[in-house]
């Protein structure tokens, strides 16, 4: 996490930041102090890598896609695409070639990012700690490494804002600025009396509609973030039970064993959650895009 705050002493046992420029934060407090002018390398790394994995696999399948008897990878990719296509056809009534690829991207990408949750919680951070210690000379305890990008609100908000941007773009494109404004101000309350309409109802309508408009990207990202963050939290809490075994007592070992069982159960349950969250994100994005394309709404 690079930043450029000069002359601050934030981390214990560390000197003040000597030089300006992009560099890694040395502890949580320093990362916090960096503010907006920083970037989460871990989140970006994993989301981009997983996205590239998705793109690579699907491009490979798309290249060898033929109308003949499909095999292996092509079967899988076609099955996913058909599933997405059915979902899009079910909820999206407009005509836009962007929606189905968007839904596919969201579903697979979010699923892959969520899937990182199923990798045992300390493997990749420990690896990152080792890499940081060996190659960057960092204290391994201060190498903070988030493996699941969807537990970073930056990632989920980044995606939901992108969806929101597309929503606004197509709303204005399909309805015009006037139509979009009318959608925000002319309902649910309307009156024939112009004074009543413009002095009282328009502001009320705007407040109501604007809040519901903003609620869309917020709920979209917070739902995914909250679910994944809580899930990861529970994995970490369960993983703490394994520490009980270090006491060496029978109770400690029993606790660790119970932790193992809980880990298994939660992981199995989490398979459902990660898929469901990816699916919900995708479906809601499709529905929002559909709303953006609805022109003939009479209010």
């Amino acid at each position: 996490m690079p930043q450029s705050a000069v002359g601050q002493t934030l981390c214990e046992g560390m000197g003040a930041v000597e030089k300006a420029g992009w560099q890694f934060a040395h502890c949580g407090a320093e990362a916090q102090a960096m503010g907006f002018n920083s970037i989460n390398i871990d989140t970006m790394f994993w989301s981009v890598s997983l996205g590239l994995l998705f793109i690579w696999v699907f491009r490979k399948a798309a290249k060898m896609a033929t109308a003949d008897v499909p095999s292996g990878l092509q079967n899988f990719v076609e099955w996913v695409c058909e599933f997405i296509d059915t979902s899009v056809r079910g909820s999206f009534t407009g005509k836009n070639d962007l929606v189905a690829p968007m839904a596919l991207t969201i579903f697979i990408w979010v699923f892959l990012m969520n899937f990182m949750d199923l990798i045992p919680v300390d493997w990749l951070p420990a690896l990152a700690g080792w890499v940081g210690h060996t190659f960057f000379g960092a204290d391994p305890h201060h190498v903070f490494f988030k493996v699941v990008p969807s537990t970073d609100p930056n990632a989920t908000f980044g995606m939901s804002f992108a969806v929101f941007g597309l929503m606004l773009f197509y709303s204005i494109k399909m309805k015009g600025v006037g139509g979009f404004t009318a959608e925000l101000t002319m309902h649910p309350f309307s009156s024939k009396n112009p004074i009543l309409q413009y002095l009282i109802f328009v502001p009320i309508n705007f407040v109501l509609e604007f809040v519901s408009l903003l609620a869309k990207p917020l709920s979209l990202s917070l739902r995914l973030y909250g679910n994944m963050y809580a899930g990861e939290m529970i994995f970490i809490l369960i993983a703490l039970l394994f520490g009980m075994a270090s006491s060496g007592t029978i109770g400690g070992w029993l606790g660790a064993g119970a932790g193992g069982l809980m880990q298994l159960g939660w992981a199995i349950f989490h398979i459902l959650i990660i898929t469901l969250q990816a699916f919900i994100f995708m479906t809601l994005a499709i529905v929002y895009m559909d709303m953006a394309h609805q022109v003939d709404e009479a209010h």
Binding site: A31, N40, F54, A61, A62, P101, P149
Partner: protein, 156 residues
Amino acid sequence: MNFNYTLIGQSITFFFFIWFCMKFVWPPIMNALHTRKAKIADGLAAAEKGQHEEELAKNRAVEILKEAKDQAGDVIRQAEKRASEIVEAAANDAKAEGERLVHAAQAEIEQNMTRAREELRGQVVTLAVAGAGKVLKKEIDEKANEDLLKDLAAQL
């Protein structure tokens, strides 16, 4: 929850992936799916058509078979008729030939009989003349009575 450039980076990445997906992933796969769908539909239609045609061909075959059987029956009947005709004609011919032969034989027999009779008559005449000559000897000139004798012989 501290927001930073990651937010923007994630959005840009997201847009890039959507664009890539829209350009290079979605169309070929959907294209393949649609082509295959059309292909399968064509195949099924062709199979149905083939079945239909097979049924038609079966019906036609049955019809042709029936017709052939009918024709064969006709041919056999005609042949039988013709055979009986030929037999009848042959029998008639044989009968006629037999009759002809009988007639011919009868005619020959009659001829022979006539000839024998003529001969006999001739001889009788000769004998009669000889007898009469012996009886009449001197009285009757053979040459003078020749016409009379000839008439007599013709009446016999």
